[in-house]
Symmetry: C2
Subunit: 360 residues, 2 copies
């Protein structure tokens, strides 16, 4: 569009200059930036996919229509596990996924999604924004030409769907389970076989018996996939994913092509999406749990304390091993572990003490 056309459409003359030039109606008619967002989730999948849609819409609204973003589900443009490379190469400007999917790039990525017996959602955000976490994440993605942001959190997940009862740690021996990242490593140490599968392939694998168990997210998402039809027991709590952070990374070059205010809008919109997803899951998990238990007669089971205790010991070893892989993993591990120690001490007399007091 030529300058003259733009100014005519924007209606300069009848309105104050600034307001008119940024008027959302006129801006909507002519977006200056058309972006693509590739995601690791089925298109419009509740919570994960819809968060990507929400993020795209917020950026458009806050920018007065100057950025338009088209969201692609997994496989629509690239497969779920190729989102990282696609944005790194500039095939798309943004990618929406979970950092532990990229442990093949660097083991350190896992600290930015979920760590067994690690941080809750509230604690993750504290580490990222006020504990040095974001700076390390940016350093980690820099060589790939990507700018990372935290874009959602599921809260404490469920331990998963099992076709075998878990009464002792030995019951995990030989268990073939879909469980990504460090949680999978812990399962391996306990004698099980971790399997990596995109969300969209869990149901059939569980139903066919190709896997014995699977974790996914929590009631809200697990109900949507119908996992209750394919497994007997639903275990809690999600020791392996106590506050899983979702991510949206942005191609560095695409970001630098934006004017300063749009750069701020893109980054800040991710923070809103981060908070929004946690609020959504917190509100919707309980209703879904109710449906699972009362309508679908799902058997809800707590992991025995002794199993949790032993998983914690194995987790500490597995997470410690990551530090030995490379200097960057060590740096991230040290920052994360120090922060965890401090925040656990504080939350022991605040969040935990309160949640227990409420149940007295």
């Amino acid at each position: 569009m030529k300058r003259r056309d733009f100014i005519q459409k924007a209606g300069v003359g009848s309105l104050a200059v600034g307001a008119a030039l940024t008027n959302s109606k006129s801006a909507n008619a002519s977006p200056q930036f058309k972006w693509k967002m590739v995601t690791a989730w089925p298109k419009n999948f509740p919570g994960l996919g819809t968060n990507a849609n929400l993020l795209a819409k917020m950026i458009t609204d806050m920018s007065g229509g100057r950025i338009k973003i088209k969201v692609y589900g997994a496989k629509e443009l690239v497969p779920a596990f190729e989102v990282f490379d696609a944005v790194s190469k500039g095939v798309a400007e943004m990618g929406h996924s979970g950092a532990y999917y990229w442990k093949g790039k660097s083991e350190a990525t896992q600290f930015f999604s979920a760590v067994p017996f690690g941080l809750t959602a509230q604690e993750m955000n504290a580490w990222l924004y006020y504990g040095g976490g974001m700076e390390l994440w940016r350093e980690l993605y820099k060589p790939f030409g990507l700018i990372p942001t935290a874009t959602g959190n599921t809260g404490v997940q469920m331990a998963g769907w099992f076709n075998r009862e878990i009464n002792a740690l030995s019951d995990l021996k030989g268990l073939k389970m879909r469980i990504p990242g460090l949680g999978g490593e812990v399962l391996k140490q306990a004698g099980g076989t971790p399997v990596s599968l995109p969300g969209g392939e869990i149901f059939t694998s569980l139903q066919s018996g190709a896997i014995d168990a699977s974790e996914w997210v929590g009631p809200y998402n697990d109900l949507a996939f119908g996992l209750y039809k394919a497994a007997k027991y639903y275990y809690y709590p999600g020791w392996h994913e106590p506050g899983t952070t979702l991510e949206c990374f942005i191609n560095e070059k695409a970001m630098s092509d934006l004017p300063k205010d749009l750069q701020v809008i893109v980054k800040q919109a991710c923070r809103i999406a981060n908070q929004d997803m946690l609020a959504e899951y917190t509100a919707r998990n309980n209703k879904a749990l109710h449906t699972l238990v009362n309508k679908h007669k799902v058997q809800l089971k707590p992991l025995p304390n002794d199993v949790l205790k032993r998983l914690k010991k194995l987790s500490d070893e597995v997470v410690g091993d990551v530090a030995a892989k490379d200097p960057m993993s060590k740096k991230v591990y040290q920052s994360f572990t120090k922060f965890r120690e401090q925040v656990v001490a504080w939350h022991d007399i605040s969040e935990r003490a309160y949640l227990n007091a409420r149940k007295l």
Copy 2:
């Protein structure tokens, strides 16, 4: 500024049209909206005052300098407890405070800040954004010409500073304590005398013996006020404020004068500030606690289980009484209480089960 000057300064011709017209440099040179934000906190007070500053800056940055906001500490333009009326009357465009300060306007306001044995930060956001809370809050502030937003959360607070040991509920009899909102009502039912004081007046009142005890926020803020110099015991957990929400309300008329995209930016910036404060407090409380205990030799004490149990019973009665005050309070009470019941059930097997598992 004339249109021609504006276009020349923005450098149209050498840059893409959209980028140039929204270039933040040019916009910064001529803000179209100059707003005032009055706050209930001492100027630049850590966490509360700095959150207001951050919010103002974010709005300016995201708007490419089209809105500039001057932040006023308590008493600079109006006293702490007159912030609500000031923005309602248009003396300032925005106000930063806590909704329970306005229980004189409507008892229902208290549900939007802190409810004894109510919701945690994560749960509050879930209720506000996905449980119907925000809609009710908007309805409540509408008659005052104000648009409310949640703009911060302290997380679970401390029970407070005491110059008397609390071993039984009877120890609260005759206790003169600074404690606002519904927590104060509960104290009254337990035989104590609640006092309402702005934060800035707590220290001297506690030191002079005008009050026997005071709650404020948590280690980060309490250390900043030096409260440890004026009281013997530091009790936990903050049963009366388990996830205190801060607010920023906006004058409705001022908001409607903004173009659509700036309206979205103002509202969404408040959501970022909301998340940011919780992250800040979560990260900084522990370090402050460490300083209080190790450097200043503060005696940290848990409220006995029996006291908490009885306070919970009194709290349920007091909160229930609010519902009887007027139809709006009843409506908010019912929404809040129903949501609490559901989210407590879910968090019992997720957040709470996990925090306890981590300590096994």
